[in-house]
Symmetry: C2
Subunit: 208 residues, 2 copies
């Protein structure tokens, strides 16, 4: 079946199938993807630039889907909304997370999200020299908790006795509920920490 009159593939078709494959839980790969599409792996290379480019395509789509409009508000609102949106995205597509770690971000839509964040922090009064670091902190935070969603049920499996850890694991929730609670605690810690830092760098308005 060489060269049908109407092309079988396109970047969109490939991205859709890639997302379905990732969400199915089966390991992602160009061969597995081609199989799903009823096509040879080499065919994909006529439309996209290989494995990593497909992942970046999927990331871009998801970010656009999960952030319909650019957030407005105070830096606190924007930080919280950004982190919660990322959380929702990773929760909806946990198997994507291990695939995107350590890949350079080039997608315009994703860059724009980080730009909004950076702008909000500068306008919020954080020292310019710190803002990129703070964006990285927020990013690390979101990614770390995204990986938590992609992790096995039990992160720790103590075989011997422990002083505290074993009992805490036995007493508390597991799986998604454990992860959600940790996320909420983490988000509160993050926002509190940022507020303290802002207060320390820009002393409160002398009028008060």
């Amino acid at each position: 079946m060489p060269r049908p009159r109407q092309a079988l593939l396109s970047p969109d078709v490939i991205a859709d199938a890639a997302m379905a494959l990732i969400d199915s839980g089966s390991p992602f790969g160009v061969n597995a993807l081609a199989r799903r599409l009823g096509v040879t792996a080499s065919s994909l290379y006529h439309h996209v630039d290989g494995h990593d480019a497909i992942i970046e395509l999927v990331r871009g789509r998801l970010v656009r889907r999960y952030t319909p409009d650019l957030p407005r508000g105070t830096w606190e609102e924007i930080v919280e909304r950004t982190v919660r949106l990322q959380r929702a995205m990773y929760a909806g597509h946990p198997a994507l997370v291990p695939l995107i770690v350590g890949k350079t971000i080039t997608d315009e839509g994703v860059i724009e999200q980080y730009d909004v964040l950076a702008t909000a922090l500068v306008e919020g009064g954080f020292p310019r020299a710190d803002v990129l670091s703070i964006v990285a902190v927020i990013d690390s935070f979101a990614l770390g908790f995204g990986l938590d969603l992609a992790s096995p049920e039990n992160i720790w499996e103590p075989e011997n006795d422990t002083r505290t850890l074993g009992a805490l694991i036995a007493d508390g929730p597991s799986g998604r509920e454990r992860s959600d609670r940790a996320f909420e605690v983490g988000l509160a810690v993050l926002l509190d920490g940022l507020r303290s830092r802002l207060a320390a760098s820009a002393p409160p308005d002398p009028e008060h």
Copy 2:
């Protein structure tokens, strides 16, 4: 060369070579590892339980090397020391980080570190029900910044103009220095956030 009088391999020999392979920057795999050891990949399976078990072996060794004695002190000191030790370990062996994400921790030495942390937080006055979440927050934090070390020089590559992000990237440091700065900011935010949380859950001593 079947069955030499003195065994060529052992878990220790394999772990040493695995660490050298990982630190060399070449992609890790059982085949590549066997090649380095001048041995067949199948030989490894007489001593260790495959790819993931080798990674867990390396993790255990490194944790033991980087934490010679169990930390003592206030919860703040223990949290800070734990995070800094993990940071040092990941900085020394960045290529290990992507290999350990999402793998269940079974190594006794590693479990013990988390147990010390959990115990310190309980004794420090954090609500028992929150402690496991807080340990997960600290873990996500350390892992997120570890991944930052394993990431390419440029995390963001904006192609179009941006309002703020592009200028911040151009003005600030890159590579290791950027990562280190972000880590320091993140650690300060983490500790501040934890202090606020503790103060909110356990109101200050009425004597003061």
